[in-house]
Symmetry: C3
Subunit: 369 residues, 3 copies
């Protein structure tokens, strides 16, 4: 099945530098810890996917052993490997979350250089909490200053992204927090040294600031949901916990894009069906589930309206993850819809329409690309 | 695989009137909101299932485009389309929840007319909260009056149904609420104008009233669990939240039928295995998951005893949903068991027995039909 | 696909005596209640698996009806049937939880006799709560006495196992409880008659005692998670609830082995990926899901590192459950990996490596066998 040009509506930039083997392997897992004794991140569904899709781009056979792959990558050098892998990913447009600026201790390429390396159009997604942490302000002025800073940062962007799931979890009260409570919490946070924002009142206030700014600028708000690194507690990242907030934010008509969602992707899909403002995402699930991508994609499409699921790679740091994300999606949706066709569940035209919507058209419509 | 005559143990009646295209499409989603810009409810797993199973009943080819289907339906008129679609559903017996009386603003057919249109035996399922809302009483008399009203309403019915999941969620304390608390809550509710019942104490009391009445009349109690319209909060509809109540109600031996369950159908299946009083249901899951029905049915049958899963359509408003529910089940269970046979997981006789149990025999035994 | 010698890292012993048909059937379900009217435990995914794998070991055809199977088993006698079934299971090594000593009211074989009957190497897993319940002590001395008793019991064992999920659920605070609170709770428990331990403070204290003892002896700690018998409340057995404890216990580097997990096995798999100390298990899921084993195993391998998933049968009481657990795993992983090979997701060598790791190598490394 032909898959059209892909719009990757959620990703990060890549490391340009050469990486030690361990550092590279460390980007093939959501863990930020060293692997358990006797285990390797390559021994995983994602590891299989990397060894399936990437070796041919570097001139090796499919399923080349990890050691061979790493040796060949070193031989080519990071710049050439990156060029080849990103070219093979064949992405048309990338919406890049600029909230992370390094991976494995190395800087990520700035957007213009990344665009050139990827041969793709690139647009920015502004990370809410990063913007807020950088705002100089007194407590009383904090709400206004944060809103202005976000509006400024988002002016040239295509979306705002929240990582509330990592900082507190998604169980927030539906109503906006009172200004007095926000100012008090801001005071405590500023006095404590203005570090990583984890105060629930401030995080909750930021969410509503994002709704206001997105409403003003006509932008969607992306929210991390589901699995990620060990910072988060999985059951607190269940998107269903956002339901009260989703209802409260409905009058703003700001689109809320639930990223990843796995293993609560069926919950995310229901929210996307029940609420016109909610959209859902494939994200890193497609890469991390490796040989199982068609099944997981199938689970998402049980309840998610076909006009509301969006492809993304959520690639971060390694150019391999762009190629893997792109190949996994092309392959997975092809396998799934070929099966649907084979049992008579839809027509050829229907299958092609589903692919077009998820691959690019939904993103183009949602982000006005 | 031959599927025997179906007993649909949970459904609603149909709209007899002609519907505008938007109103009809609006019944193909659990959302009660207009679709998001640029999207259509036909672009969904359920939409594919409608276009797979219904066009032939109206003389069109399988997978006819939505526009063609809607045009043909208008040409035939609602009465003729309804007659053809219900006939194609070929249901033997329908247990109809009479708590809803309209869909898309139009009245549903009364039971006798529905029975005639469907060519099926029809029995009534009484909706607990609707009965309670219609009872005229003072606060002190409310518990007695509600119980009498329910006993009266259920006398000719085959089951009572609770929509606690929509009103409060399923997290209820196991013990019966104290009478004084019920009377106080009834007083507050009556003074506030006797509207939609959402008070947790009253809802909880109703659940126990239903247990008492069902025990007296020998009827099962159906409970909505899992996904539904945006009124509910999904994680609060997880049937596992009912475990304490299930244990507390065990001595009554009233069968508790967990409807739908998705995406918590594996939890519902475990409850059905662990507790003799618990049964579980296919419900609207079969229709809404479209091409994925065999997989979801497979998930249910991992832990659900084959003697405790029941077929239903949960069809509501549109005659299409009867045909889709019926065809999805026939096709889905056929596909699943053919696969089980092919890999040697069961014998032909075993497969036929599973189909018979789920299609009709479990319902006949449970509801004493 | 060739499956190597199996290490069953979590199981129980078998009943040696002849069992009445009802008692035998009662061990084919997690329920400890009589089956619902008109239903039989043989009508289940597990029932199909028993009738698929066991009849040939007793000289009957595959899928022999339950009645024929039971008759033949009686004819052979329990001793001969047990010998044949355990031999067919072909287990190399069994790590046996000795916390249960009876099934269906009959004693389980002692370890040495079980080892002989199974023709397998057998090592002990000590059950934490059982050890603690048997310790004679005053309240003030209880913490020390329990720790000593556990250290003594675990000295010759390969692991400690916790059934916290059954006693309280997995929602425990991350920090160790204060000693004063433990002594007070121990006093109350001792005064109340020293029965089944269900006090949350004592259970929580036991968990940390196990961490200390396991750290000292270099043993892993197994934790029941996910489905089991009606004693537990399913959503309180979600392993994600342990995340705070997992983080707090990380410095001890004690491996935490999440048993079963289903239907939260994807959550368990994420924990195994995110935290180096966490491992996950196939367990009774493979037997109970019958024809669906390959799919469920696939779900586990979406996020679980291949070096962190372990085969087990969790067989208990019936020798049938050893053979079923073993055959289901061999068949299920074969079916899954054959499919992965067929679509090009991995090489033949990769598939063989995954099988070897899950079947035995992970267990040998983890338990230092």
């Amino acid at each position: 099945m032909d898959v059209p040009a892909l719009v990757d509506h959620h990703c990060h930039s890549v490391v340009a530098a050469d990486l030690a083997d361990d550092a590279l392997a460390g980007l093939l897992t959501e863990s930020d810890r060293p692997p358990a004794p006797g285990t390797s991140p390559f021994d995983s569904a994602l590891g299989l996917a990397v060894r399936r899709w990437c070796p041919p781009a570097l001139g090796l056979p499919v399923h080349a052993p990890a050691a061979d792959y790493l040796a060949r990558r070193r031989e080519l050098g990071a710049a050439e490997a990156t060029r080849r892998l990103l070219a093979a990913a064949a992405l048309d447009t990338c919406l890049v979350d600029t909230g992370l600026t390094a991976a494995a201790g190395r800087p990520l390429l700035p957007l213009t250089e990344f665009a050139e390396a990827a041969g793709a159009r690139v647009r920015e997604v502004v990370r809410l909490e990063s913007v807020a942490e950088a705002v100089p302000a007194t407590a009383g002025d904090w709400p206004r200053a944060v809103r202005e800073a976000l509006a400024g940062a988002a002016a040239g962007a295509v979306a705002v992204k929240s990582v509330l799931a990592y900082r507190h979890g998604l169980a927030v009260p539906p109503e906006r927090p009172a200004t007095a409570a926000v100012v008090a919490a801001a005071g405590a946070w500023l006095r404590s040294g203005h570090g990583r924002l984890t105060d629930p009142v401030l995080l909750h206030h930021l969410l509503w600031t994002a709704v206001d700014v997105c409403a003003e600028l006509g932008l969607p708000l992306q929210l991390h949901t589901g699995f990620g690194d060990p910072d988060l507690t999985l059951h607190l990242a269940d998107p269903s916990l956002l339901t009260g907030f989703v209802r409260a934010a409905e009058p703003s008509v700001v689109p809320l894009v639930l990223l990843h969602g796995y293993p609560y992707h069926r919950q995310a899909a229901w929210l996307a069906q029940a609420f016109p403002t909610v959209y859902t995402d494939l994200g890193l699930t497609a890469s991390y589930t490796g040989p199982r991508v068609a099944e997981v994609l199938g689970e998402m499409l049980e309840l998610a309206p076909f006009g509301k699921l969006l492809f993304s790679t959520d690639a971060y740091g390694l150019p391999e993850l762009y190629l893997v994300g792109s190949a996994q999606f092309r392959h997975g949706i092809g396998e799934l819809l070929t099966r649907w066709r084979a049992v008579g569940a839809c027509s050829e035209a229907d299958a092609e329409r589903v692919v077009r919507l998820v691959a690019a058209d939904n993103a183009r419509r949602l982000y006005a690309l």
